[in-house]
Symmetry: C2
Subunit: 372 residues, 2 copies
């Protein structure tokens, strides 16, 4: 059984238990859902139908790409359905012999106006559009990485770590003087090593701009790693999966306030790492870090971490907000990324990618605060 | 009156006519709506509330960024509303003194499950979630560029044209041998000239990969502009607005089939350009090009063109599908981009940005098929 079949099998089992005849997943511009790639190998732009009969149909926008990547029992180009998702739904239902009146689930992000159309044009089925349904189930399954994914991540992390070493050498030697130099260097080194590219727009904020969580623009022709605190946030995307790390370059002379920010951030990171283990509530780890910063009369304006995978941000969340109910389990892969930002002194963040195993956290990446 | 006030004024007038007390626009990850930037200057991540009283409230995620960019009567950080859009809606309604029972419009992309929450928690207002409402009105207004936007575009096009000249010189001289070299060159030249960056991921497909409409990955370390047909599709983003051009590099020796594809594409482009004028149905231009290709027993697998602006793809559409009801009007800015793709011979596409004026089309960019 291929890894894609194994993943779909988990959904079929869930569908049988829940009495769902068919599920539609949608991965198009404006409504991305990497569950499609996760269950088929198709990189993007397709509908995926799962029938409780245990068969799958991919409806790709680009049939040539599907011929290379997609691994499903059936593939029918979207143009055969006039690029209309409801027409495709009828086609899939016919293929899987779904009886009228059966429960058919569509994505919970379907717009209200779109939902009304499904009811009007496919109301012979019992159309479900809901939270905590098949799509959330798939998201939960994706939060625990299987062996294939863990192998991909070891490779992606190894590439990331090679690049971190090169960055330290080149930046401290003054060979990548501007933000743009640093960003292009990372992009080229990723692709040279077989990556699809970087996993998201690299953020390179020299000391003059590092006070912002989200610097805008993401990088400029201004200096990087001048005296003070510079932040570099990037990921390497390998076979669809991205790493996500942040380095801080702390170049002397530093003020006492800057030194204190760095030490606190390293302490917060160590604290978080000491707390992540099987069965722990993710929220509690976030709260412990908030408390540590609070004691020093500082506050972190973002979440402590997030799952990574086919998306740069996915489940589980490690935020401290009351609505965070994630429990950490072996196979989960997530970032820990404490940071502090000050309009005068600049910002610092330390972010690594953690694989939780039965025996504890394994830190896959080698990001750090680099003092020089 | 600032240009942002002028734009909002058009919406206020429409709201008064339609009896709408308040409209909410939303621009967040997964639900981008550049109408917010268009009416306020805020680059991203905010809610915008317009009251029929003629006042506007921006609710930004990043208050520091709003302090630099946003031009609205009121700004209240999203965190003041617990980052909850319904809480923000209540706050805006209080600020604008919207009476209970009044009509309040939310984005038509709001999910069905999200809509049910609005009804539950803000049902004291008459919540509208519909197509052909305020959001489509804003989209229609954005399709006709005002003078400020036309000025920005002349600058963006001038930068694009400078880069096209440099590309021709460097690529035909063998100085940018791989896809990656070409892509980085464009990105750096854009940013050097004051652009925010490229407007979308540059597509660089050497002759071995140009058969795909969407090459994947977008660029690699493989050769570019080796003998045969190579496609280069990019845009320069200046003050939020992106150009969108495609060059084909046709390097000899070429087969007869390749020569024919090039000539046909140039003919299709000239045909399209001769047809665009005030009052023409956009669909008819698309159909004329489909017919031209059809006569030669070829088919173009994508639309003839699309509007450009704060988004790389916006209104009007120039596709030939029956549901395309756009009529071309002065001030509209769109691409014309005929292309042909063949699994054996590769692909070619020619794409330029056209501003429609009262006296006819003005071709702003200088993209072309470069034979060498």
């Amino acid at each position: 059984m291929s890894v894609y079949e194994e993943r779909r099998k988990k959904l079929y089992d869930w569908m049988a238990l829940e009495g769902i005849a068919m599920v539609m997943f949608e991965d198009f511009e404006g409504r991305r859902d990497p569950a499609v790639r996760w269950m088929t190998g198709q990189p993007s732009d397709a509908l995926l139908f799962l029938g409780v009969c245990g068969k799958s149909l991919l409806v790709p926008w680009d049939a040539n790409m599907a011929a290379i990547y997609a691994q499903t029992e059936f593939v029918i180009p979207y143009s055969n359905f006039d690029r209309n998702s409801i027409t495709a739904l009828w086609g899939a239902a016919a293929l899987f012999k779904v009886p009228l009146g059966a429960r058919v689930e569509i994505p919970p992000v379907t717009s209200y106006t779109g939902f009304l159309k499904y009811i009007e044009e496919a109301g012979d089925y019992d159309i479900l559009c809901r939270n905590n349904g098949a799509h959330d189930e798939a998201e939960g399954l994706r939060a625990v990485k299987d062996e294939t994914e863990q192998e991909i991540y070891r490779k992606a992390a190894a590439i990331t770590n090679e690049i971190i070493e090169l960055l330290e050498d080149n930046i401290t030697a003054g060979k990548l003087p501007t933000e743009i130099d640093v960003v292009f260097f990372i992009e080229a080194e990723c692709r040279k090593r077989g990556c699809e590219g970087t996993g998201f727009e690299t953020l390179a904020a020299g000391a003059a701009r590092s006070f912002g969580i989200h610097t805008f623009p993401a990088y400029t022709a201004e200096p990087f790693a001048e005296p003070g605190l510079s932040i570099l946030d990037f990921g390497c995307k390998y076979r669809g999966y991205t790493t996500d790390v942040t380095l801080t370059f702390a170049r002397s002379p530093l003020s006492t306030a800057q030194e204190k920010m760095l030490t606190l951030t390293e302490k917060a990171y160590a604290k978080a790492l000491s707390l992540v283990k099987d069965g722990v509530n993710a929220r509690e780890v976030g709260m412990a870090v908030d408390a540590l910063f609070g004691k020093a009369r500082k506050a972190m304006p973002h979440a402590l971490g997030h799952g990574i995978g086919l998306e740069a941000h996915e489940s589980p969340s490690l935020r401290s907000r009351p609505d965070n109910t994630w429990q950490l389990r072996p196979g989960m892969l997530f970032t820990l990324e404490p940071g502090l930002y000050d309009p005068v002194h600049g910002g610092c963040r330390l972010e690594n990618d953690i694989l939780l195993t039965k025996s504890g956290p394994e830190v896959l990446t080698n990001a750090r605060i680099i003092r020089f």
